[in-house]
Symmetry: C2
Subunit: 500 residues, 2 copies
Amino acid sequence: LWTQMSRGTQSKFFTHLFIYFALGSRYVSKTATKTVSEFEYDAPSMKTAVPGPKSQELLRQLGEIQNVGAIHFFCNYEESRGNYLVDVDGNRMLDVYTQISSIPIGYNHPALIKVMTNPNNVSAFVNRPALGILPPENFPEKLFESLLSIAPSGMNRVQTMACGSCSNENAFKSMFIWYRNKERGYASPSEQEVGTCMINQSPGCPDLSILSFMGAFHGRTMGCLATTHSKAIHKLDIPSFDWPIAPFPKLQYPLEEFVRENAQEEARCLEEVEDLIVKWRQKGKPVAGIVIEPIQAEGGDNHASPDFFIKLRNIARKHGCAFHVDEVQTGGGTTGKFWAHEHWGLDDPADIVSFSKKLLTGGYYHRDELQPDKPYRIFNTWMGDPSKNLFLSEVLNVIRRENLLEEVTRSGKALLQGLYSLQTQYPHILSRARGQGTFCAIDACSDATRDSIMLKARNKGLFMGSCGEKTIRFRPALVFKEYHVHQLLNILNDILAEHK
Amino acid sequence: LWTQMSRGTQSKFFTHLFIYFALGSRYVSKTATKTVSEFEYDAPSMKTAVPGPKSQELLRQLGEIQNVGAIHFFCNYEESRGNYLVDVDGNRMLDVYTQISSIPIGYNHPALIKVMTNPNNVSAFVNRPALGILPPENFPEKLFESLLSIAPSGMNRVQTMACGSCSNENAFKSMFIWYRNKERGYASPSEQEVGTCMINQSPGCPDLSILSFMGAFHGRTMGCLATTHSKAIHKLDIPSFDWPIAPFPKLQYPLEEFVRENAQEEARCLEEVEDLIVKWRQKGKPVAGIVIEPIQAEGGDNHASPDFFIKLRNIARKHGCAFHVDEVQTGGGTTGKFWAHEHWGLDDPADIVSFSKKLLTGGYYHRDELQPDKPYRIFNTWMGDPSKNLFLSEVLNVIRRENLLEEVTRSGKALLQGLYSLQTQYPHILSRARGQGTFCAIDACSDATRDSIMLKARNKGLFMGSCGEKTIRFRPALVFKEYHVHQLLNILNDILAEHK
């Protein structure tokens, strides 16, 4: 065979061989107990201010074809490892934002590289199927071993989608379909309904609504955007729906110290929710579903108590609305449980739980009743991507093997304690430290101070995210350990000590 | 090194080695002129009725977690090659539907397998970045060598997205932002606009509309769905917007024989478009953009003349509306040109051209003026997927190297001629054969007859798609050759001859 191969093919084969050995000796863990930390760097290492000259040149190039105003810098993903993101100028940063919270087990995890180099997986990458009509043989098996193995209690149905917005859009559609089927007593739609829906008119396209919360973020496609209320820049100039928006509790932190005040605030918000449901029903735009994040992320890392969510779930049931928990940012283990809403201890499960980001594929779980009655009602060309399910299976193996949820709980405690210390030390700069697992945040005294701290931190090798008006959010990967916490706190402490 | 590897790693290495040689000897073309046909099967080969017993068992399993009513059968993608799709029961079918028109160069094309096995590409698959904030080093270069190398004339800006719906949603948002910026004279938004947009109210969320056409399909998320009017099942029970819907021309085929009648029909539709624009402006819901497919696909493969589209473009300009050409299904070479709207000879380019499916990544091109004025207005976590751009680059190389657009033109002519012959031979069953390139269709005398022909064809090894009420649509890959056309026509002829 070898002699039949062209010179080019031989040469490529050697490259391949070389890399295989390189991977074999460098990344592949020899025992199941080895962890990613053994394959990553020790610490940040900075060579230039960020963005450095190479990033700036690439920004100029990309600026010719796109708005590049949101770009921080360009990355060298090949050289990034675990918790450390390397940029094109050779700067290595501790990354606690992880691609807007979407890298579950760090960069270039050996387990994920194995998925790529496993020849049995090649076909899943090169032949993306239309999953809704022609799924691959292993599709049910892969769903069972990945998404269904981590299904929230009470949910044994799941629909994959391409991204978070698409997941929420289709979750909303499922709630509307469910609501109208109830209303018409599960009878067939009338001729009038079938006719009017084709021209966007009622009753075929009914005036139904989704109740959302001020400060919420559920995505940016037009259905989702009507339930997003975090920042004006997301919504300005885009037509929307007249749907009810309830206040989300504005709690005082630390939660343990303001139990009574916070309970009153939550009661006020719940009362408003019921008022809005009644009011919108009277308006002729009944609430088909309520959508909420377990922790409002983009809106500023706003928490509420388990009691609040349990009562909200009860209100939804009482008024015949579906209850949709959006775990796009909170799901995947970052709060110390696989799903943040598992912290609530709900007796009665949610109706829909949507996900994306750390799960690598979008999608949503739902109760039996929320399954559409007919094919093609919830549908699109790809309906997800089986190659993402392969990666997810492996991510779940790593989470189990390396006990990453315990790790998150441990690192999260250290992180939150550290943030408490910093705000005690620098009360004129920091306040309202809060978090669950490593899903932590702290407020600066102003947006300008927040932005300045973040830029200084970046130049010292700590890359963080922002949210809300003046909040820093921490979204490390699940492989974020206590010693990474200490690196983070040391850098922050240095900056705060210098801050006038 | 070898002796340092564990037994398991050695064994995996041999598997890898074996596969590499297998691929090397079986698929990898030795010269640039070899084509996929040398690596694929000769003909369909059927072992069971479809769906066979294995598919039925998998349907039962998947039915426990999803609505499986739309699933045809389960596939063995590993064994599928070129134009032939193999199912789990070992049936091999000539596939002229190609995953709802989304497989550009056939199954398991050797060029795409090379992308997967190239170690330089591993990182792009395992570290999916947030492209809008932290793009990889090669992102501009890959955009230039893939999407920008095939940009429609007059367009040098492109935004990638995950799928077709997401592309159209964001294209609509771009048109709304552009329209409002014009209206406010490019001044900053007022405080009132900023405040009201947060609660979904005008003027921050203005009452703007998108004009679409009856029979159109632009996707299923709620913004897109308001412009989709192909089938009631897609729209029933989902709230929508009061946006204008114009009639799409109902032409008589073959187009050459009904020039005068068709011109009259198109004039009627264009007049209605202008009336609607005026009417919706008077209603206080001005038309910010017009969206149209070059050939309505899901709606029944409805064509219109270049003259119609040129006049429509002029109407859009005259009334200050953006002109958005949705090439999600028509783009990628299937009409014989890379973009179907290149057949029109537009003097003035469109404002937006959206794509997905055969391009493997979603996205849209746009003119400079349609670029949002600020970052984060058009944004989401992933903004596409660089691993899809890698595949696209390679698909474009294959299209150029194998002259696939010429091939499509040649095969398309043979296919359309064959369909004309069949409808002449079986006028009581078939009519209205039509097409451009291999993007062809033919109507049956009823939906029941259409469905029966399609099922019989499937059992004889020909897998086709349907659209509209009683139409069969042909959506082969770009590697569909004249001898595949003959296979297709022979199978259809056999079925029609038996048809009572």
